[in-house]
C-alpha cells in the first residue's frame, strides 16, 4: 500500500517536534508518544488533503490535544465515581521542592499538575497559537470554558512557578456565532 507522502514527511521531519509538543499537552513523554501515535492515526484515517507540511502539522497538533482529552473523557463513564472521588479527595500534584530548583523541571511539574483540559487549553492557545474559537472547536468545549480554563491555567502556573505568568493578547469578540 502506498505511503501517504504527507505522513512520510511528518514522520521524517516533524516527529520529534510533535512529541515535544505532546509532552507539553500530556505532561509525560510516554503519554506524549501515545498521543502523537493516536493523533496521526486519527488524522490519516480520514482522506484529508493538506496544502503544506505546516498545515498538516497544525492539524495533527490539534488532534493531539483533542485525542488526549477524549482519552481522558472516555474512561470517565465507567470510572466516574472513582474519578470524582479522586478529584475531590486527592489534591493535585504540587511540584516537589527539588523540582523548583530547575526552571524547566518546575515548569514541567507545574504543567503536569494542571487538569488535562486546562493543560490542553494552555498548550493550544499559547504553544499552537490557536484562537479561543479554534481551541474550543478542537477540544469540544465552549468558548467561555476555554477562557476560563486558560485563565485558571495561567493562574495555577503563576502560583506554582512563583512568578506572574502572563499572556498579553487581544480580546476576541464573538457575536452571534453558533457551534
Amino acid at each position: 500500500m502506498r505511503q501517504d507522502p504527507m505522513l512520510t514527511r511528518l514522520l521524517d521531519e516533524r516527529y520529534s517536534a510533535l512529541v515535544g509538543y505532546a509532552v507539553v499537552v500530556t505532561g509525560a513523554r510516554p503519554d506524549a508518544e501515545d498521543a502523537v501515535h493516536d493523533a496521526l492515526i486519527s488524522v490519516f484515517s480520514r482522506r484529508r488533503k493538506f496544502q503544506s507540511l505546516q498545515h498538516a502539522e497544525g492539524y495533527v497538533k490539534r488532534a493531539i490535544a483533542s485525542r488526549y482529552i477524549d482519552s481522558k473523557r472516555s474512561g470517565a463513564s465507567r470510572a466516574a465515581r472513582e474519578l470524582r472521588s479522586y478529584v475531590r479527595d486527592t489534591p493535585r500534584v504540587a511540584p516537589a521542592p527539588e523540582d523548583q530548583a530547575s526552571g524547566d523541571a518546575a515548569l514541567v511539574a507545574a504543567m503536569r499538575s494542571l487538569a488535562p483540559r486546562v493543560r490542553a487549553c494552555v498548550a493550544l492557545r499559547y504553544l499552537a497559537d490557536q484562537s479561543i474559537v479554534e481551541t474550543a472547536r478542537a477540544l469540544g468545549l465552549s468558548d467561555g470554558a476555554v477562557k476560563r480554563y486558560t485563565a485558571d491555567g495561567l493562574a495555577a502556573l503563576s502560583t506554582q512557578l512563583g512568578t506572574d505568568v502572563t499572556a498579553p493578547e487581544t480580546a476576541e469578540v464573538i457575536t452571534g456565532g453558533t457551534r
Binding site: Y15, S16, R47, A76, V87, V122, R148, L161, T178
Partner: protein
C-alpha cells in the same frame, strides 16, 4: 514576570530531542489508519442504512450534501445529453434561468461509452440464493436484482468478469445497496495523490468479496476527461441503474446516469459549477445541490433518465440545500425556503425570511419550520415559526430581552424551542461570558430557565429530543416531555452541580 509562550516553547524545545520516529511506527500508523477508515466507513454506512430503513428506502446516499463554492456561473437547468444509443430527450420544462454548458465542453457533448458491469456465474452463485444470471441482493429490498448481467456481455465488453481477485487497495463506501452490501470505490490513494484517482467501482459483499461494478476507465473514455473521484452516487439496484456525480481531474463536475444492464450512459449535467447530491426517491431520482456561485437547484429525474421535472429550479445566492421532513430545505443568505419533495414546483418556493437575522432552523415539518434567530447586538433572540407560505409569526412564546447576546444556539424540544444563549452586561464581551440563559419557547408561553452557570451548554439535534453536550460532564438528552437523562459523563467534580441543573431543566 514570564511570558507563557516563551515558557511553553522552551519546554517543547527541551522535549524535542530530535529523535527519529521509531522503526515500525510508520507502518503501524498506516495500517491502523487504514483499518479505522474502513471501520468508520462501514459503521457510518450502517447508520445511514438504519435511517434509510426507517424511511423505507432501499438505497442510501452516502456522502456530502451540496455546498456552495465561490464562482460566477449561471444556472444550467437542462444540460442534458445522452448516449449515441439513446436520442437526446427534451427536458420537460426549461426554466427561465439561463442555461450554460448544455452538453458541450470539457466533458464532451455526448458519450457512447458502453459500460457493462462484470458478472460471473461464480458471482451469481455467491450473491443469489439460487445460482443464475440474475444478481440478487437485498435485505431492505427483497428480490432487487441486476438484470442482464450476462456472462457473454461481461466477457465481450469488459474482459475481466466476476469476482475481483485483488480487492481494491483503498476503499471508500459510496452507497449501500443493502445493510451489508456496498458500492465501494477504489480510490487508489486519491486523497493523497490527486493524479492517481478513482480507478473503479466495486460491489462489496458481506463476505468481503468484490465484484466489478463500473470500470471508470471506460466511463472516462466516453466522457473524454480523466476521472477524479465520485462525489456522490445513488444506485437503483432493482433497475440496475446508477447516477453518479463525478469530479474530473480538471475540477469539472459531471452528473451521469448509467444503465448497468446495457452500458448506456447519459450525461445529465456537465459543468464546472454543479455540486450535486443525488438520492433515490422511489424509482425516480432527486438531484439537488448548488452551483459554485451558490445557486441551489433541485430537480426530479425520471427512473430511466429520459425526462426531468425541472419545475423546481430556483435561484438564491449563497445557498445550501438540505433535506428534512420530506422537503428540500434551501438555506441561503436570505433565509430558508422549503419545497415539498413530491412537488418541486417553483410555485412552492416561499418568500425567504429576513436577511438581517441570524437564524437557526431547529425543526421542519409539513407546516413550516421553527427557527431561532438572534441579532448581533441590541435585540433579543426569538423563537419564530415560519410557514411554508412564507408567513412569519412570533411563536411560540415571546422574546425576552436580557442583554446583548453574543452566543446562542437552539434545538427543538417538544412543540417549542429550547434555546440557550449567553449575554454580556455592558460593552465588554468578556465581562460575563459564562452566563448562559435558557429559554423554552412553548405555545403556552415562554419559560425562562435563568440559571446562571459557569458551564457551557451546546445543543445539537437528536431524533425527537434535544441532546445537550455538557462540556464539563458529558452528554445529556432531554426528552420531548422535558425529562432529563444524562447519557455519559466524564471526569470532573462538577456534575454535582449539574445534578442541580438537571432539576432546573426538568420542567416538563
Amino acid at each position: 514576570m514570564s511570558d507563557i509562550r516563551e515558557l511553553l516553547h522552551g519546554m517543547q524545545r527541551d522535549a524535542d530531542t530530535g529523535a527519529d520516529a521509531p522503526a515500525g511506527l510508520r507502518a503501524s500508523i498506516q495500517r491502523m489508519a487504514r483499518r479505522r477508515r474502513v471501520t468508520r466507513e462501514v459503521a457510518g454506512g450502517s447508520l445511514a442504512v438504519v435511517a434509510a430503513g426507517a424511511l423505507a428506502w432501499g438505497v442510501v446516499r452516502i456522502g456530502d450534501g451540496g455546498q456552495a463554492a465561490p464562482a460566477g456561473i449561471s444556472m444550467s437547468p437542462s444540460p442534458m445529453s445522452s448516449t449515441a444509443a439513446t436520442p437526446t430527450p427534451e427536458p420537460t420544462v426549461t426554466p427561465s434561468i439561463s442555461p450554460s454548458g448544455s452538453g458541450d465542453g470539457p466533458w464532451g457533448d455526448s458519450s457512447s461509452t458502453m459500460l457493462v458491469p462484470a458478472t460471473h456465474q461464480a458471482a451469481n452463485a455467491a450473491l443469489s440464493p439460487t445460482a443464475g444470471p440474475t444478481l440478487s441482493i437485498g435485505v431492505l429490498e427483497p428480490a432487487i436484482s441486476f438484470a442482464g448481467w450476462e456472462d457473454a456481455q461481461c466477457s465481450s465488453m469488459v474482459g475481466a468478469c466476476g469476482r475481483v481477485e485483488a480487492p481494491p487497495a483503498t476503499r471508500e463506501i459510496l452507497d449501500r445497496v443493502a445493510p451489508e452490501w456496498a458500492v465501494v470505490a477504489d480510490l487508489v490513494n486519491a486523497a493523497w495523490a490527486p493524479d492517481a484517482p478513482l480507478s473503479a467501482l466495486y460491489l462489496a459483499s458481506p463476505e468481503g468479496d468484490f465484484y466489478t461494478l463500473l470500470d471508470t476507465a471506460a466511463l472516462e473514455s466516453g466522457l473524454g476527461v480523466p476521472m477524479g473521484t465520485v462525489r456522490d452516487l445513488a444506485l437503483n439496484a432493482r433497475a440496475g441503474t446508477m447516477v453518479l456525480e463525478m469530479i474530473g481531474q480538471g475540477g469539472q463536475n459531471a452528473t451521469v446516469f448509467v444503465d448497468l444492464s446495457t452500458g448506456r450512459t447519459t450525461q445529465l449535467f456537465f459543468s464546472d459549477s454543479w455540486t450535486t447530491s443525488i438520492e433515490r426517491d422511489g424509482d425516480s431520482w432527486l438531484v439537488w445541490g448548488a452551483t459554485t456561485d451558490g445557486t441551489p437547484f433541485g430537480a426530479r429525474l425520471a427512473p430511466d433518465a429520459q425526462s426531468w421535472d425541472v419545475d423546481g429550479m430556483w435561484a438564491v445566492k449563497d445557498g445550501q440545500v438540505e433535506r428534512a421532513a420530506g422537503r428540500l430545505i434551501v438555506r441561503s443568505d436570505l433565509g430558508y425556503v422549503g419545497l415539498p419533495q413530491s412537488d418541486l414546483s417553483i410555485a412552492n418556493v416561499t418568500a425567504p425570511t429576513s436577511a438581517s437575522e441570524q437564524c437557526e432552523v431547529v425543526k421542519a415539518n409539513d407546516d413550516g419550520l421553527l427557527r431561532y434567530c438572534a441579532t448581533d447586538a441590541g435585540s433579543a433572540p426569538a423563537g419564530q415559526r415560519v410557514a411554508w407560505d412564507g408567513t412569519v409569526s412570533q411563536a411560540p412564546g415571546a422574546p425576552i430581552l436580557v442583554g446583548v447576546p453574543y452566543w446562542r444556539s437552539a434545538v427543538a424540544l417538544g412543540d417549542g424551542i429550547l434555546a440557550a444563549y449567553r449575554y454580556v452586561n455592558g460593552d465588554d464581551p468578556t465581562d460575563n461570558p459564562d452566563v448562559p440563559l435558557y429559554e423554552w419557547y412553548r405555545p403556552s408561553g415562554t419559560t425562562v430557565i435563568d440559571e446562571p452557570s459557569a458551564f457551557g451548554l451546546y445543543p445539537s439535534r437528536v431524533d425527537g429530543a434535544a441532546a445537550w453536550v455538557l462540556p464539563e460532564t458529558g452528554v445529556a438528552v432531554i426528552g420531548g416531555d422535558g425529562t432529563w437523562h444524562q447519557l455519559a459523563e466524564w471526569a470532573d467534580d462538577s456534575d454535582l452541580q449539574y445534578a442541580h441543573h438537571a432539576s432546573v431543566l426538568d420542567i416538563g
